[in-house]
């Protein structure tokens, strides 16, 4: 019975049940939703193949993020290739496949923030996202990225300065438009 519990299958099940949503969220934050679930399942397939290497909690999730990071990067590369192919097909008159979608109502401001994030260098962007969106401690980020803690500190500091420059003044450039119908509702 005890052997059953600690069998690789059992450990994988636990890992999956425990962290599936976090990994899926990680992927969904970085790619379109339909592709994200693909990347999530691939992450777990890879995790299964290395089940014996995966550290026990609390180390498991950062380890999974580490796998997911490579999976996502691979996917994005493939997608870029695909989108080049798509453009080519389009120029030949072949219809592109439908596009998946945004998840939530994102405001102008949030989209500006995301656009600004996308202008960071890939490594800096990943560090900032792990820090803010996955809300990981800096030490853990250092482990995932294979960098020192002080290098992470520096990168976050530098990225924030850059973001402040891109977002600072532009932030006011898109005030909410004056409501065309406020009068009617405002009585």
């Amino acid at each position: 019975m005890m052997e059953e519990l600690s069998s690789p299958e059992r450990r994988f099940e636990m890992l999956y049940a425990e962290h599936r949503l976090e990994v899926l969220a990680y992927c969904t934050r970085r790619m379109r939703a339909a592709e994200a679930s693909d990347a999530c399942s691939e992450t777990f397939l890879m995790a299964w193949r290395r089940i014996d290497d995966i550290p026990p909690p609390p180390g498991a999730l950062p380890y999974l993020y580490g796998i997911a990071r490579r999976v996502v990067a691979n996917h994005l590369r493939t997608l870029r290739r695909a989108s080049r192919l798509e453009k080519k097909l389009q120029s030949l008159g072949v219809a592109p496949p439908p596009e998946p979608s945004a998840l939530v109502l994102q405001s102008f401001r949030n989209r500006e923030v995301i656009a600004a994030l996308q202008r960071l260098k890939p490594k800096d962007r990943e560090i900032v996202m792990l820090y803010t969106w996955e809300a990981l401690p800096r030490q853990t980020i250092a482990e995932i990225m294979g960098m020192t803690r002080s290098a992470i500190d520096q990168r976050i500091h530098r990225s924030y300065q850059r973001l402040a420059r891109t977002l600072g003044p532009g932030q006011q450039a898109h005030p909410l438009p004056s409501p065309p119908i406020a009068e009617k509702g405002g009585r």
Binding site: A102, L103, V104
Partner: protein
């Protein structure tokens, strides 16, 4: 801008602030897919040879077990779907629903908030990570802001041997935009991948910016709430003091409902029968003179109908109450002028239908169907025995009535000349229908819609057929529970749409592809013109 401000901004822009919001996603099918693909690519073996069988099974069992638990918690998929004929004998080959029909059926059910039926179209464990509409809090939010989905069209796209992709585009009203004379807002769509007769993957693109929804509705409403009800706004928006993300607590949802109604000017839906202009959203109660003389009986229990409009839309015929308490037909100008009772039938008279020239009214009584000459005030019986004929409608040339005959075993649609000759079957067993009722001819007489079932087929479902005897086609997802119609007012004058009503309220159905939109609460409705409905409240 400080470090803290930047930090807060980035955190607020998190596309998935809460991973548990992704809970309905199911990776098992994708894992299977991937497995299949990987197996086909021999240059990329999943694992080395000798371990091949075991790990693969491990992954699948592991994932399936974990997902099984999650699905048990978050997804309630009914074993069978009332809309779909799963436990009935298979339909004939030519009746197998096409991917587009399946897509329309799904979007119809979804748009009618019939989530159980909608789920019945989805393969158990299908990929719906990008289908936010299914997630309960989001769906509840849409309901609280009066979201109305108007299906535009479903079109097949790329397909391979196994599956077909269908894109269904839709417009929507939200935040009471219809009541404010704004919208509907286009550019949104579902992408569905359909295999066999099931949807194996679904994603939803919800457009809100390029179509003006954000600018016309979301942002002005945000400003209005923040100005007038800042305390409510703090509850309603999850990212307050930003206003880009709704909170979905019960308290928040009830505020969204109240405030959006108030914002739109707070026109409550009339509690009496009323006229609804679909172009403007304007709702006008019927004139008191008519409302006061309409019989309060709903007639649904008798399978009867309350209203009919003359073809020039100037007059209404309706079921009123005679001096002895019986049901009798009355007529009035649609403005409520000159109300008068036109029948004095010995028993109850109901289900009026005008002749195309407005000189006659057909109606139903227990002995059969009668035709009244409105000016002279004399009725003549045109059907029966046997009694039980119901739901008369004049044929477009005015020479005959279309009606439902109870028949020997099953009901069928028949026509009878009003001068009293014998009846002819229009739709019955010879057209493959085991039962057919509520028949209504299109204005040009080329099409007929009805409620019924194929011989040995499931039912009662809504069908559409050409009157030249071709086989009736099921309008997928529409059935007697949600789509009963009054034969005398089913079709728009231009023949493009039909109206019906049931548990989901009043539905307008596009004849071309069967796309249904819920337009109002109400238990029955007839068309007055191409964009105006008379709706029975309640």
């Amino acid at each position: 801008m400080t470090h803290d401000q930047i930090d807060r901004m980035i955190r607020q822009a998190n596309p998935v602030p809460d991973p548990t919001a992704l809970e309905t996603v199911d990776v098992a099918v994708l894992a299977l897919e991937k497995q299949r693909r990987t197996e086909m690519q021999t240059d990329q073996p999943l694992v080395v040879d000798q371990g091949k069988e075991k790990p693969k099974r491990g992954v699948l069992i592991g994932i399936a077990a974990a997902v099984g638990v999650l699905i048990g918690l978050v997804l309630v998929l009914p074993p069978t779907d009332p809309l779909r004929p799963t436990d009935s004998p298979p339909l004939a080959d030519d009746q197998t629903p096409s991917p587009v029909e399946i897509a329309v059926g799904f979007v119809n059910a979804y748009g009618l908030s019939d989530l159980d039926s909608a789920a019945g179209f989805l393969l158990y464990g299908s990929d719906r990570s990008a289908f936010v509409g299914e997630r309960r809090p989001y769906r509840d939010f849409l309901e609280s802001i009066g979201f109305v989905l108007i299906l535009d069209s479903c079109e097949g796209g790329r397909s391979d041997d196994l599956s077909e992709r269908v894109r269904c585009t839709f417009d929507y009203h939200a935040l009471r935009s219809a009541e404010m004379g704004l919208g509907p807002y286009g550019g949104s769509y579902f992408d569905l991948t359909i295999r066999g007769e099931q949807i194996i993957s679904i994603s939803e693109h919800f457009e809100y910016e390029s179509n003006g929804f954000s600018r016309q509705m979301w942002e002005p409403f945000a400003v209005w709430v923040a100005d007038n009800y800042p305390e409510d706004a703090a509850v309603m928006y999850a990212d307050w003091p930003n206003q880009s993300l709704q909170a979905t607590t019960d308290e928040s949802l009830s505020l969204w409902e109240q405030r959006s109604i108030e914002y739109a000017g707070g026109t409550p839906v009339p509690e009496v029968d009323y006229v609804l202009d679909l172009n403007t959203g304007e709702m006008t109660p019927l004139p008191p003179a008519i409302l006061n003389s309409v019989s309060p009986e709903s007639l649904a229990t008798r399978g009867g109908y309350r209203y009919a409009a003359s073809s020039d839309r100037s007059m209404l015929a309706y079921v009123g109450t005679g001096g002895d308490g019986s049901l009798q037909i009355s007529v009035a100008g649609i403005d409520g002028a000159s109300v008068r009772q036109v029948t004095s039938h010995p028993t109850d008279a109901f289900s009026p239908a005008w002749s195309p020239d407005g000189t006659m009214i057909a109606y139903e009584a227990s002995e059969g169907l009668f035709v009244l000459d409105v000016d002279i005030g004399v009725s003549a019986q045109v059907t029966g025995p046997p009694p039980g004929s119901s739901g008369p409608q004049f044929t477009p040339d005015g020479s005959s009535l279309l009606y439902t005959s109870p028949g020997h075993d099953n009901a069928r649609l028949m026509t009878v000349p009003i001068d009293g000759e014998s009846s002819t079957v229009l739709v019955g067993p010879e057209q493959g229908m085991g039962h057919a009722g509520q028949g209504s001819l299109s204005p040009d007489g080329s099409l007929v819609t009805m409620m019924g079932n194929k011989i040995d087929g499931p039912g009662a479902l809504r069908f559409l057929a050409a009157t030249d005897g071709s086989e009736p086609r099921n309008l997928f997802g529409l059935r007697s529970g949600n789509c009963r119609s009054n034969p005398a007012g089913t079709w728009t004058p231009d023949g493009s749409r039909i109206v019906c009503a049931g548990e989901s309220g009043v539905l307008v159905v596009l004849v071309a592809d069967g796309a249904a939109s819920r337009v109002a609460e109400g238990r029955a409705a007839i068309w007055l013109d191409d964009h105006t409905l008379l709706i029975e409240a309640g």
